[in-house]
Amino acid sequence: METVTLLQWAFDVVLGFSLLWIAWLALTSLDLFRAIVLFIAFGLLMALAWVRLDAPDVALAEAAIGAGLTGALLLAALARLESNNATKPTPEKDHQPEAHD
């Protein structure tokens, strides 16, 4: 039984530190795409953390929303961000404050 507890501890520690590490990498990464992929990985690990905390309901929600849909949303947004950049090289900086209708 002792070994099991030890292994569980090791699992929790590795998972906890990876969570922090990946979050840190995702938030400091220079490349936006890399940041998003890291964030997706972060979501996967979060689901494992919920499992370890005996919260399978939350794990299920995280797996479906956090790992699946948020990633797709972020990637699609990034794509539109970059295609906007590509089509509009000169930003129109001085936008006149528009009168309402």
Binding site: D12, L32, I36, F39, L53, I65, L73, L74, L81, K93
Partner: protein, 102 residues
């Protein structure tokens, strides 16, 4: 100290990391990611602390709250991403201006 406190502390760490990134990074996508990481930290604390009494059933109320929070988070993320794209179309950059107009 049981392993739930480890996760609660990880939650604290995530919250602070997210806060730091939110303040420091000008790019909006990063700010949105930072808010999400902060949210994960909060949910982690919420659920982990509910598990601290050893040998009992997990408390379902924080679980329900975390699920609610996750749904709110994805709603806010989707809105923020769409708004970010609009900002980029209007100003040419997906960043906030350096100074709020005074």
């Amino acid at each position: 100290m049981s392993h739930v406190f480890l996760y609660a502390l990880v939650g604290v760490g995530l919250f602070t990391l997210g806060l730091y990134a939110l303040i420091v990074h000008p790019h909006l996508l990063r700010k949105i990611l930072a808010i999400n990481v902060m949210g994960s930290g909060v949910f982690l604390m919420l659920v982990a602390l509910g598990r601290r009494t050893p040998g009992t059933l997990p408390d379902p109320v924080p679980h329900a709250m975390a699920i609610t929070g996750i749904v709110v988070a994805i709603s806010a993320t989707a809105l923020a991403l769409a708004l970010m794209l609009r900002v980029q179309v209007e100003t040419g950059r997906a960043e906030l201006p350096e100074e709020p107009l005074e």
